[in-house]
């Protein structure tokens, strides 16, 4: 039995263009009290935009209802478990929103003089201090607008340091279990990417790494725990190999939510790292931002951090632009300030013990799912996992059902799919990350659903292949959509003719 409530299954919604009827509008202006003039004569014909053919004409209440109805179709973390592995879809506590909406913070303007911005600067300073305590690093910039932006900033810092030593070097090493943004970052920063294969435990191979590292290597970019959710237990040895050749260790901190309160990258050899505030510190996630990707560094990289830097002068906060070795700005002003406020609210609301408990709960939840689903789904890497677990579809694929098909069937059970086909080192991956957000009840619902699907595949694989059934739109032709995309709605008849 499907025990999740879904909304408005039989409801469907026309496109707003199709709801249009000529002459309707959402507003009425008062009559002109000045003489009308021809805009083309006043501004020049080239500055007057043509009417947009087919532009929807619709009333205010219809517009509101259209978009409100559409919004109820979304699946969101506020509706239930969102098990997208690697994405860390955790709950955004309402206290974050309360604090971010306080007038003094919400209405602060970046051009306010420093003397009137002391509170906002204190928020930045407090979050910096928290980041340093949590990561064990020496200095941090909160400017980068998201994780990948942080990566790019971090590698620019590495390049700047190596250039100051006389040679920026040529290559960056990236394990094959890395996030796709890592090689992209290295390439954007002008480095050649060299892939390193993982060993059978899904870990970096220390001996292989030693063979790759020479005086041409600028850095290793390592995600820890890696995308299998496995802690790189040889990280200290790996860091030593890099450091012995004058190279840096960059840690992709995307999975920092598995370490907070338990281990500090600054203590295991990391020189520079980024943190995704939306993943670890519960700021809103998705929709293209705004995000936050602080970059934390060891002291030797500190002179190169982006300007401005926060400094104390005459017992006041002050923004220091006089930093000759800085890589410059990476973003306007001081980062996405509203996001920084939310992250600090989360950290202070939890306190040290609370943050550590959140980490432990995330680990417990992932391991509980692993334990319960292991009899039904293949576990390609059996190393102990932390905050996420990666199964493969090997058993189900023998009956013709692949990870993407299982994910689609999961929608019928009222859950957002897990991450499909990633990490790429696992063939047919099912990547599941429950986060600390979930209660035992919600996790058990998810586990029951997955087991039920596994049984359906044994008895009726064809039925599973046809899923989802319980959605407004059934199985989408992904191949057709990618090969022959229709990206623009066109009226059946041009509006000018329809109006005749």
């Amino acid at each position: 039995m499907i025990r999740k409530v879904r909304q408005h299954i039989s409801q469907n919604e026309a496109l707003i263009f199709e709801e249009s009827s000529p002459g309707k509008s959402g507003y009425q202006l008062p009559p002109l009290d000045v003489p009308a003039i021809d805009p083309a004569a006043a501004l020049g014909k080239q500055n007057v935009r043509d009417e947009i053919e087919g532009f929807p004409e619709i009333s205010e209440v219809e517009t509101i209802r259209h978009f409100t109805r559409l919004s109820t179709w979304n699946y969101a973390i506020d509706l239930g478990l969102y098990p997208l592995g690697s994405c860390t879809m955790k709950y955004n506590p309402r206290v974050n929103e309360f604090v971010a909406r306080l007038d003094g913070l919400a209405w602060a303007h970046p051009y306010q003089p420093e003397s009137l911005s002391q509170g906002a600067l204190q928020v930045i300073s407090d979050l910096e201090a928290a980041m340093l305590e949590i990561t064990g690093m020496d200095a941090v910039t909160l400017q980068p607008a998201a994780g990948a932006h942080g990566e790019f900033t971090g590698i620019l810092l590495v390049r700047a340091l190596l250039e100051s030593r006389g040679n920026p070097r040529k290559r960056i090493l990236v394990p094959d279990s890395a996030h796709g943004t890592n090689p992209a970052t290295a390439a954007m920063a002008g480095y050649t990417v060299q892939n390193i294969k993982s060993n059978e435990q899904g870990l970096m191979d220390v001996e292989a790494l030693a063979r790759f590292v020479d005086e041409d290597v600028a850095a290793l970019m390592v995600t820890n725990p890696n995308t299998l959710g496995v802690f790189e237990e040889n990280i200290v040895q790996c860091a030593k190999i890099l450091h012995d050749k004058g190279a840096m260790v960059y840690m992709d901190g995307a999975n920092m939510n598995a370490l907070v309160g338990l281990a500090r990258p600054g203590d295991f050899g990391v020189d520079v790292m980024h943190i995704n505030l939306h993943k670890t510190f519960s700021t809103p996630h998705g929709g293209g931002g705004p995000g936050g990707g602080p970059v934390a560094v060891k002291s030797w990289l500190e002179p190169f951090l982006p300007i401005p830097r926060l400094a104390r002068k005459n017992d006041q906060w002050h923004l220091d632009y006089d930093r000759p070795q800085s890589i410059g700005r990476v973003r306007a002003f001081y980062g996405n300030f509203g996001v920084l406020v939310r992250a600090l609210a989360y950290i202070l609301a939890h306190g040290c013990d609370g943050l550590r408990n959140a980490t432990l709960d995330a680990l417990l939840n992932a391991n509980y799912i692993r334990h319960k689903l292991a009899p039904y789904f293949d576990l390609p890497y059996t190393s102990p996992n932390m905050h996420e677990v990666v199964f493969s579809d090997e058993r189900q694929a023998k009956r013709g059902v692949k990870t993407g098909d299982i994910a689609k069937r999961l929608i019928d059970y009222g859950f957002h799919p897990y991450t499909v086909s990633f990490p790429t080192i696992v063939h047919g991956a099912l990547m599941i990350e429950p986060t600390e957000t979930e209660s035992l009840r919600e996790i058990d619902l998810f586990i029951d659903s997955m087991i039920s699907i596994a049984k359906e595949i044994e008895t009726d694989p064809k039925m599973v292949l046809g899923a989802p059934y319980d959605t407004r739109t059934n199985k989408v032709d992904e191949v057709g959509a990618a090969r022959r995309p229709v990206v623009r709605w066109k009226p059946e008849r041009p509006a000018s003719k329809a109006a005749d």
Binding site: S421, T424, H427, E478, V479, A482, R483
Partner: protein, 129 residues
């Protein structure tokens, strides 16, 4: 199980090369297309591009992922399979034939000898699983 033409040579990255009179035709293997799944887009270099062995020729995009294609040999691109732009699905149907990617005028004959034979490649993909 697919059959790999005996007169082709193969790479670990799942490209094939067929050398005839100083011109090598390059493509991806049947194993590669099967792993990628439905291919939806192919990005190829321009005629005249000079390629080094092991460097990227371009990429193929499937519903699942985008993958780089690496040149098995060093040489200059003299012909590109333009038809693939509009019918990328050919790569799923005939990867060893009609869906070749580029033709290279190769600089030497030695490089190709280092690539795998059909039986070696068959064994390699068997082992890779």
């Amino acid at each position: 199980m697919s059959t790999y033409p005996e007169n082709f040579r193969y790479t670990k990255e799942h490209e094939w090369a067929h050398l005839e009179g100083g011109v090598a035709t390059i493509g991806i293997t049947d194993h590669a297309q099967a792993e990628l799944g439905d291919i939806v887009y192919v990005d190829l270099p321009k005629v005249g591009t000079k390629l080094e062995k092991g460097h990227s020729i371009g990429s193929v995009e499937s519903v699942k992922a985008v993958s780089d294609i690496y040149s098995p040999l060093t040489g200059e691109v003299i012909e590109v399979n333009e038809g693939l732009a509009s019918t990328p699905e050919q790569l799923n149907h005939d990867p060893h034939g009609a869906a070749w990617l580029v033709k290279l005028r190769v600089t030497g004959d030695d490089e190709i000898k280092k690539l795998m034979s059909a039986s070696e490649y068959q064994e390699y993909v068997g082992a890779e699983g």
